[in-house]
């Protein structure tokens, strides 16, 4: 409990504290009532019987359905994030290019693909691989998922890179140019490494988005966690327990990734702080704040 006053509430006095206790009791009752409603709605249809949950004690459930599904999800996410980082850096560099044509083309590309839903890109990629290139077999859905996720997330990462470079102190580029580097070399050797380090937390949280979006592969028959869970559920007749278990797996992994992102962010902040660069960090932080909506958008 924070004793420090927030912008909304002053430090509570004895009267306010009593009022908080009343609100706390009332709020707890409302929350418990809502939870009871949800649980009883499930229990009324027999969702908490042993028969519905015992499959999860059977190792075969895990070895033949959930773990292969998780593996497929992780494989898709891994390839997508690697390719998206590569694509994102290239596109980001393109958007910062000195050449108007490159800058415009990359700008239109990024804005366009950021506006198109990931699912549509997956569907499109899937059918292009199927009809256009003639890919078939098990690799086809994976290609569709990875292509869709890569396109979208490269654009998000390109924006992260661009705003990262934009928020660097101007002296960095000026110093690089002053020692005789070309604008491209300055970008490549001085600005990008700093921008990427600074954006590392956002890139890790983007991995959460990639993991979540890989579940869209369901529609193009990619055997990821949700689909393999559904196969399991149709055999065992326990769709709700299965979804609860799958949600728990996703929440656990993504929560750990979010924690990692926060840890990285704190570490980087600590490094930037320091008596001499104090002024720099005050220049950086407002632009970081204006950038958070962008990272927040990536999160959805």
């Amino acid at each position: 409990m924070s004793t420090e006053a927030s912008v909304l509430f002053d430090a509570p006095g004895p009267k306010a504290r009593r009022r908080y206790v009343v609100i706390a009791v009332f709020g707890t009752l409302v929350i418990l009532a809502l939870l009871y409603l949800l649980v009883s709605a499930l229990a009324a249809k027999g969702q908490f019987t042993a028969a519905k949950w015992s499959p999860f004690l059977d190792p075969v459930t895990w070895t033949s359905y959930l773990l292969p599904g998780l593996r497929a999800t992780l494989i898709a996410a891994f390839f997508s994030i690697i390719l998206a980082i590569v694509g994102g850096i290239l596109l980001g560099m393109g958007r910062l290019s000195q050449t108007t044509v490159v800058r415009t083309v990359c700008g239109i590309f990024v804005e366009f693909f950021r506006a198109v839903p990931v699912l549509m890109m997956m569907l499109f990629a899937y059918y292009v691989f199927l009809f256009g290139i003639g890919v078939s077999g098990d690799i086809l859905p994976l290609l569709g998922v990875v292509a869709g996720l890569t396109f979208y997330n490269s654009c998000v990462i390109a924006e992260l890179i661009r705003s990262g470079v934009g928020s660097l102190p101007k002296g960095q580029q000026e110093a690089a140019l002053a020692i005789g580097l070309t604008p491209f070399a300055a970008l490549r050797l001085v600005l990008l490494p700093q921008a990427i380090t600074m954006m590392l937390p956002s890139i890790v949280s983007q991995l959460v988005v990639v993991l979540k979006d890989s579940a869209l592969g369901f529609l193009i028959l990619y055997p990821e966690l949700v689909r393999s869970g559904q196969t399991l559920a149709s055999l065992e007749g326990n769709i709700i327990p299965t979804f609860i278990v799958i949600a728990a797996i996703f929440i656990l992994i993504n929560y750990l990734l979010t924690r990692l992102a926060r840890y990285l962010e704190r570490r980087l902040q600590r490094r930037r702080r320091g008596p001499k660069v104090a002024q720099v960090s005050t220049i950086v932080s407002p632009s970081m704040a204006s950038q958070s909506p962008l990272t927040a958008q990536g999160q959805i």
């Binding site: 839903p117 549509m120 292009v128 979540k212 869209l216 959805i300």
Partner: protein, 228 residues
């Protein structure tokens, strides 16, 4: 290509599909705003229990794939458990629509709550302290000083949530709601020869839907930005 485009537009009711996308977006946006506001109030409240409950909601929902939440509602509550929203005898597509909207609202409420909270966080503590110093009571401080600034700070992130929500309505294709990506899948399966034209049409539709929202919200947040 042009021939293909006109052929597709006459053969398929693209406008109806995008109208469904718009309806889903608006309905879910209202729901997400209602739930999200409640969660945001809980998250910034001085009562620890409510704060913890709000944080739990955001953490759980934000880390679950939307697809899973949609399935939970449509396949779980509706198909398997036979729970219906509203009239008991309404047809399947109406029920799918309602459960889909509920799933979208529940999911995006977490992001709305975060947007509102980040808006409140943009208000410096000195604003409230100054308001209290000139003798405003709690309600007046909130109403006249803090909330107007907080809403202005929340406009840009709220706009981003609305754009993401528009795009995320496509996830409902997985439960057969006849929105844009559902139509796209059907179109490609029947006319694989026109796949590029189909993608151009559908993608452009989303650019048309989201671009003005983005530009509008950015302009609004700039115009209303609190000068500090």
């Amino acid at each position: 290509m042009l021939d293909g485009l006109s052929q597709l537009l006459t053969e398929y009711n693209v406008l109806a599909a995008f109208w469904m996308t718009i309806k889903l977006t608006l309905a879910a946006a209202v729901g997400a705003l209602v739930i999200g506001t409640i969660v945001a109030i809980m998250r910034v409240s001085p009562v620890a229990v409510l704060r913890a409950a709000g944080t739990t909601y955001v953490t759980l929902v934000r880390n679950t794939p939307l697809t899973l939440i949609v399935f939970f509602c449509a396949f779980g509550f509706y198909i398997t458990l036979q729970y219906r929203i509203g009239a008991q005898n309404s047809p399947i597509d109406v029920q799918n629509f309602r459960w889909g909207v509920l799933a979208l609202a529940v999911y995006h409420a977490a992001f709305v709550a975060e947007a509102l909270r980040s808006g409140i966080n943009t208000v410096p503590k000195g604003q409230a302290e100054a308001a209290r110093a000139i003798g405003l009571d709690f309600g007046a401080t909130l109403y006249n000083v803090v909330l107007p600034q907080a809403f202005r700070g929340a406009i840009a992130p709220l706009g981003n949530v609305l754009i993401a929500l528009t795009k995320n309505t496509t996830v409902l294709a997985t439960i057969g709601v006849a929105e844009a990506s559902y139509l796209m899948k059907g179109m490609i399966e029947f006319r694989p020869d026109l796949i590029y034209a189909i993608f151009v049409i559908m993608a452009t539709g989303f650019v048309i839907l989201t671009l003005p929202v983005g530009i509008g919200f950015t302009a609004l947040s700039r115009r209303l930005a609190v000068k500090r």
